[in-house]
Symmetry: C2
Subunit: 497 residues, 2 copies
């Protein structure tokens, strides 16, 4: 252990700060705002234990990325009072209102932190594979919001993760913009441009404690793909092929944004077997599928806040780190989700959704009557500023009892104007250049499930006759699909009547 | 007239293209896409006459700014088949579906034009006060989307307006970004930075015809302010004062965006009598109120696509042009509404709205059951990328029969995450850092009209009990306020029951 410490902590003064994870967790006080940038399993378990053993411990937890295990561990025991940023696995305690959740698009989250909108960040827990002579941090394959939290936090605790090699050094590009009136242009015009430092700048005086972990922290992901997702991916690629053939997109496309889940997995697998070469990714999330494309040498370069990898994916990354080192750059969430850069690069934004309405408005966060599924994340920033904003979703959910195409979404995250293309397993609706009436016709015809087309069409025709002119809706019935599902367990008429 | 021609058209080869406005209007063919960047009264009247006199003439009309008179004149006679961009006075024929309207946020309108989303632009009608030796155009006080249309259009017709002096030369900064993958950073870090040319670059071969006009074209605006608007402005300024006192905003604030109408007029008048000095504006619209502030020397600099002025305002501008010349810069709409620049400058976005819901979602374009009022314009780009996004609206409309605070808006243009501050004549709800439940409580308490507070609170309390957890809505009742108004003429319960 002492060898590891001196090898990994090049700043001698900091070596004395090494302590146990239990001691580190004890530094967290009731009521503190704590920033966590990845799962940090040993720390979360220790913190959870503190709470379980009777200490009053309710914190405000900040994270701009989905910290799946951390939310799950701390969410169970009531340690999180308020959660700020992006979440996916904390939905239960949020929807029972044990946890107050402040959702925010990531493009404006970090400027809001600097402006003090959420109060001050007491402590940030950061992960590093090594610490430089000056006390700066070299992270592993998750940069996420560590640079912002290192800047914002009063004090810092470091998880020095020896399960990962130190050769990640050089893959990070840490740049944080200034604030108005002194904010400058972000000097990134190409996905692999470098604008900042290869480490997280950190005033070593901020470091309260360092604990060692030798536990890798992959996520719980698999690479299964169902028929629906495969069909969605296939429609998307056929569309992209057509755009390239018509000269509307370059043969190697434009930098792509993609997330996590079965549909993204299907899309990446479809690219594995497709003719596209020299692909580029400018995404918050880098997923297992990217590794598949990297290993097939189909990727020119990729930029993201970090990898979200299955155990198998993590193993593959570590084994091929030398080769991928020069192709992947990790950026702070603030840059990975920055509207300015997204628009400049001309990103093809590939986002999922819970539901879309007949006019193209998209709900990516809430279901039915207001339960949250996940935060809005970068979806709205990407969609509004993309060169081509694509929404990928199945036409139905819950065994066909939910139509993901509805008259009116029960919540709007991406307004109709931020959606160029809607893709379901039924087909593709290219909405560019269309007025609402034309969009509705196309979405119902090409994207809705055949079981729901008649009742959607009936609604739309009646709205055209009885309601307003430009984008007609019947206030008494616009949310009737949702209402029917809540009452009968199905959006189908036969379920309800 | 010949003297005027040689004085104003410095490019000799172009002088032979001078013709009558009637001849110019005859160049427009049925089915053409025509770009119009301001009212161009002589041309619109001539075109309308063409249609009225029996020629088949239905065009696609493009404009990214509200061309009030042009829409009114051409909308009446069915000359417009399809309208693309921003509109306000074409709502009647749009809502009766005589005109197909394609609404689009202005930040992405021009990249979409270059990508060919709307097909090709056959002819653009541009206004100039003079033409340079090289054939480039010097506009008056409306630059608007002329640079983009000059670039996109196959052919160009010029309205040479001799009612305006030529000294506008030097006030325009014409910069059009490239497209991905070659788009670069927009070199504007301060509202009066200059990035482009002081004229509209134009290949003179594109010019089909030039006609002369000696008719000024102010808009139909007045400076009246009612009690409600004055109260809204007063609440806003009190809030800004508090922010300055707390060190959250600089004493001269940050660059402001503001629109047209009674509330913006009230805000500008409030600034006339306030202590703020060296104000800056980065806005699409520059209004009469800005002249009031300029004349009181309260403005350091202002940037906009052009002035929208009453006859009195126009007279004042022309009389003081020499003084204001150095303080005002006109930019293309694409730059004035550009998310990149808005975020960099840290704009205080002051936008109006039709209604907001209890969680802060904002509808700025549609009423009740789908009739459009105006296009979304720059509102969503400004709101999503502003340093502080403020929505200003009265708490009621239609003599109190409409509550502008509703359980759920009937359309969403600006999702809740793009709204920092909601201001009505009742008060200010500062929504920063709040979760949905807290936002609802504050909006109902501070912004809703007392007549509607009890039924909004009753809805919210019941939704908390009966509906989903994070942002609860009752699908059967979320749009019940709208439904009640449509049935009874009032959102009040007493009107309906």
């Amino acid at each position: 252990m002492p060898d590891l410490v001196s090898e990994r902590i090049r700043c001698k003064d900091l070596r004395g700060k090494v302590t146990s994870v239990e001691n580190a967790a004890r530094l967290i006080q009731d009521g503190m705002s704590v920033g966590v940038c990845s799962d940090l399993l040993p720390f979360c378990r220790a913190l959870e234990k503190e709470g379980r053993e009777g200490r009053d411990l309710q914190i405000h937890l900040w994270s701009g990325v989905a910290i799946l295990q951390a939310d799950r561990i701390l969410g169970k025991t009531g340690t999180i009072k308020r959660r700020i940023g992006q979440q996916t696995l904390l939905r239960k305690p949020i929807n029972t209102r044990q946890v107050q959740y402040l959702d925010t698009p990531l493009g404006s989250f970090y400027p809001a932190i600097r402006a003090g909108e959420f109060g001050s960040l007491d402590v940030a827990i950061l992960e590093a594979v090594s610490i430089t002579k000056e006390g700066n941090l070299i992270p592993a394959y998750r940069l996420h919001d560590m640079p912002n939290f290192a800047q914002a936090a009063g004090r810092v605790i470091v998880q020095l993760n020896t399960a990962y090699p130190t050769h990640f050094e050089g893959m990070h590009d840490v740049y944080i913009p200034g604030d108005p009136p002194k904010r400058k242009s972000i000097p990134i015009s190409c996905i692999d441009d470098r604008a900042g430092t290869p480490y997280i700048p950190l005033n070593p005086d901020k470091i309260l404690a360092i604990y060692l972990s030798d536990e890798p922290e992959p996520i719980d992901a698999d690479d299964s793909v169902d028929k629906t997702s495969a069909a969605i991916a296939s429609h998307l690629l056929a569309f992209l092929r057509k755009e390239v053939a018509q000269g509307k997109l370059p043969p190697s496309l434009l930098p792509m944004e993609i997330g996590l889940g079965m549909i993204p997995t299907a899309v990446m697998k479809a690219f594995e077997n497709a003719e596209f070469e020299s692909l580029e990714f400018y995404s918050a999330v880098l997923n297992d599928g990217l590794l598949g494309l990297l290993s097939r040498r189909k990727v020119r370069a990729a930029s993201g806040t970090g990898f979200f990898l299955s155990p198998r994916g993590e193993k593959h990354l570590l084994e091929n780190l030398h080769e991928y080192h020069k192709k992947v750059v990790f950026r702070p969430v603030e840059i990975a989700d920055c509207p300015e850069v997204i628009m400049r690069l001309g990103v093809l934004a590939l986002n999922g959704a819970i539901e879309a309405d007949i006019y193209g408005n998209v709900n990516s966060s809430h279901i039915m009557n207001g339960d949250i599924v996940s935060g809005v994340g970068g979806a709205v920033d990407f969609a509004m500023n993309a060169y081509l904003s694509v929404i990928l979703l199945p036409s139905t959910a819950k065994g066909g009892n939910i139509s993901c195409i509805v008259p009116m979404t029960s919540h709007v995250d991406i307004p109709e104007h931020g959606v160029d293309l809607l893709v379901t397993e039924q087909g593709v609706a290219d909405l560019r250049g269309l007025v609402p009436k034309e969009r509705a016709d196309k979405i119902i015809r090409l994207c809705a499930h055949p079981d729901y087309r008649p009742i959607l069409r009936e609604y739309f025709q009646r709205a055209l006759k009885e309601a307003g002119g430009h984008e007609p809706q019947l206030p008494d019935e616009a949310l009737s699909f949702h209402s029917r599902f809540l009452k009968t367990g199905s959006m189908k008429l036969t379920g309800g009547k």
